[in-house]
Amino acid sequence: MVQFPILGIGILSWIVFLPVIGMLILIFIPKAYEKTIKYVAMIFPILQIILSVVLLMNYNKDLAGINKLESFQFVEKLSWINIPALIWDGTINIDYLMGIDGISLPMIILTSIIGFVGVLASFSIKRNEKGYYILYLFLVTGMMGTFCALDLFLFFVFWEIMLLPMYFLIGIWGGERREYAAIKFFLYTFFGGIFMLITIIGLYFSSKDPVTGLHTFNMLTLMNPAAIDPNSLLGGVGTNLRYLAFVALFIGFAIKVPIFPFHTWLPDAHVEAPTAISVILAGVLLKMGSYGIMRISYPIFPDAAVWFMYPMAILAMINIIYGALCAMAQKDFKKLIAYSSISHMGYVMLGIASGTAIGFNGAVFQMFNHGTITAVLFLSVGIIYDRAHTRGLYDFGGLANKMPKYFAVIIIAFFASIGLPGLSAFISESFVFLGGFKNETIRVLTIISTLGIILNAAYILWTIQRIFFGTLPEKWNEITDINGRELLSTVPLLLIIIILGIFPSPFINLMTSSVNQLVNIIWHLN
């Protein structure tokens, strides 16, 4: 079953595996042809963007998805592993099942955009380009796959596989403490992965496909309460094991988001990673965690989800406020952005914890917006770092006059980051707060979380002041303004930020029906 095929292969497979083709091509290009390597590597994200536009054009926003395969789009279902067996009560069946709905589509668009931007930002990589771009493309495949997969096993494979290129990309092309950061990132995520794996396997054995009577890894089937054997490990409703499984899964995802107290890998990884990788990391990778919660944890464990909304909201609140407070105390520009990411992902979590349609809308939208905004911010950090070779906030000053274009770019991103109306994050943050406010159990937490708005403004403005205002230190007299390539990588993102800030409806319309469906599942509406 392949929908929308191109050359007989489904469009989602194309979009996911295009970079792999790129990798294969790159492998055969000799190392010395650096330019060729760069441009070849650039083609594939562009193709992905084209394909995601095709997706967007052909996407029917009225189909909800979430738990019904019929209402997923561009579905590809191929049997991947199918072993009739005596053990495990019959067939082991793992499908190559991909499809998208209103939750994954924004993420796919985001990934393709950020993937392209990342390549542009990678042009400052000066050594061993070949290896870099091969790994980079591999990373993009992993991310895309995670957002397309509808089979838990497939999802897990993509989820974990992406660690490898990330490890190398941070570890080889990173900053001074790159090895430390890389291993920390790797270990943390892998650690989260084992919790996920346990839960996934547990789910598999608890499931019984109502149609075939077999265990299944199919997420959509697992969302059907009838598909969970009541006498099994994770059977029943609201049992301790189910809660435990939810928590385990949550930890797996929370590490990626990252949620306090699992966040400490993030500042290190961000600071050490090269610009493009920071962009990818903040732009896409973090979203995988929150996406996973919405895609897997919530619909499969609605009972636990409802029960855990309060604790999750507490964590979200801590993330928002604590992240902002930590950001405030940073002296390193990149670290500051990293902590601000923690804070902003807190909004996403708050939206998710709200369990309301508007909150979910806000969460998905915020995921997208944070992706674009933080990408610009990290790009900006990279831009300044390329020129000054330092990221110390106190090393700068007065750059606003010296680099007016740069200032214009970054100030828009900064204002977007503090949720300024007219820029996209405002709408998503508002949604998140509205959602949190709507859910009475977490209302108080939401109100406390709004403190984050102020704190965010405080440290962002402070940063602007430290870098751009005041007098220009002597040593930066030679610094040059942002160049064409850098503009090319940032301006489109800024345009997205602004356009979505003013006309969010096309984007929101993409996800509303899915989000509403998700809400229905969680609260057993319909």
């Binding site: 974990e160 570890g171 790797f186 346990i198 547990g202």
Partner: protein, 497 residues
Amino acid sequence: MQPQILSKITYFLPETVLIITLIVCILADVILKKKSLVVSGLAIAGLLVSGYFVYLQYGMEASLFKRMIVIDPYASFFKFLFILSTIFVLLFAVSSKEFRDAEHKNEHTYLFLSLALGAFLMASSVNMLMMYLSLELVSLTSYVLAGYTKKEKRSSEAAMKYIIYGAASSGIMIYAMSLLYGYTGTMNIYETARILTATGTVSSPMIIIVLIMITAGFGYKISSVPFHFWTPDVYEGSPIPVTAFLAVTSSAAGFSVMIRFFATTFLKSSAFVAGSWQIIDGIKWTEIIIVLSVASMIIGNFVAVWQTSMKRLLAYSSIAQSGYIMLGLVVANQAGLTAMFIYLVAYLFMNLGAFYATMMIANRLNSDNIEDMKGLGYRSPFVSISMVVFMFALSGIPSTAGFIGKFYIFSALIEKQMLWLAFIGLANSVVSLFFYVKVVKYMFLMKPDEGYDSKVQYGYGGYVMLMLFAVPTIFFGLYFVPLVKFAEASASFFGLR
């Protein structure tokens, strides 16, 4: 000679072929002095023929030599494994610098063959005497092999430690077997099971101490904690092909006999049906295995973190890996057995691959120190990337066969609702990342010291060998149907099911 003994002699063909090859090799060695390739070729040919016969008898069940050994898919599975690994190791030996430098050129060939023979017998023994004998055959050969490069100080030390430790362990085992013999009056494990089942609940201290002491014998072969102490020293001191052989073949042979011993002797003989292994009441062998397995995983992984020698690191990794495999035995059902099989196949490829890559590097660098591999990834990308594949496979990253092995093991555990054990195992695989990734780190993330720019040179043979290990490692990670089918089909004991 009594005809009934030899009536099924055709079933014994694989072993017979091996013995013949062994003798032919010895003769060939004597006649064609120093033409090692010929002898190795002969040995490989013999192994392939033997493998063909194993293939012919795959799926059959029969007992031979008055129920000394049996032919069953279980044994055949292991035989395939042994043949494959022996061929690989023979190929290793061809390109091994240590072997090239050793003054005797061809002894290793027939020593490997006899080791394979011993392993064959281990896999098919159903009599404790045969188990002991075949285990000793394997051990004795290994002792000799461990000290193969006898000009090397470390090699002779390794051989000494190995033989003392091995002799002690097997002595303890045969002592325990004698006690069991005294209790049941038979050495045949099926008989033993029948008698034990008939006794009803067996919980005498005798059974416990016997269990533990027999486990000591097997445990030393699979290097499980606390019977693992020889492993790091011997691995370090032995030539790398031997180490690889010990880590893969010898340890798999240990598993073959151990699994069969436990899964036959201590199961209710009346309940030899598929999927449900009913353990004789009161015999807590799964608990013992749990302790051993957890201890192996923890100690193996934790100590490996400290290693700077690649061989030693792989030694501790083997200890940890045997811990994972034992988890499959703990489950005590068909699924666990299948999982172990899958793991063993994956282990074969990834571990041999790791050893091969190590050997190639060590051949050039004259050192297997991880720190000497700094920046090797840029000088010798192919071997380094292969090494990365093996390391990640060993640590169980998805899309490698290693992950599939772990996945099945932990699935089996979770299905049995042994959640804690699954968690411990998985947490340990996080720990294992530390040292596996350390290798990767040195190769790719670190810059070499000044003036350190030696490349690893290898011909096409090297490429092919690395591909032989790396490709299946990844292929089975992505498409494991054949692997699982093979394992499932093989997961059947004689008389069981």
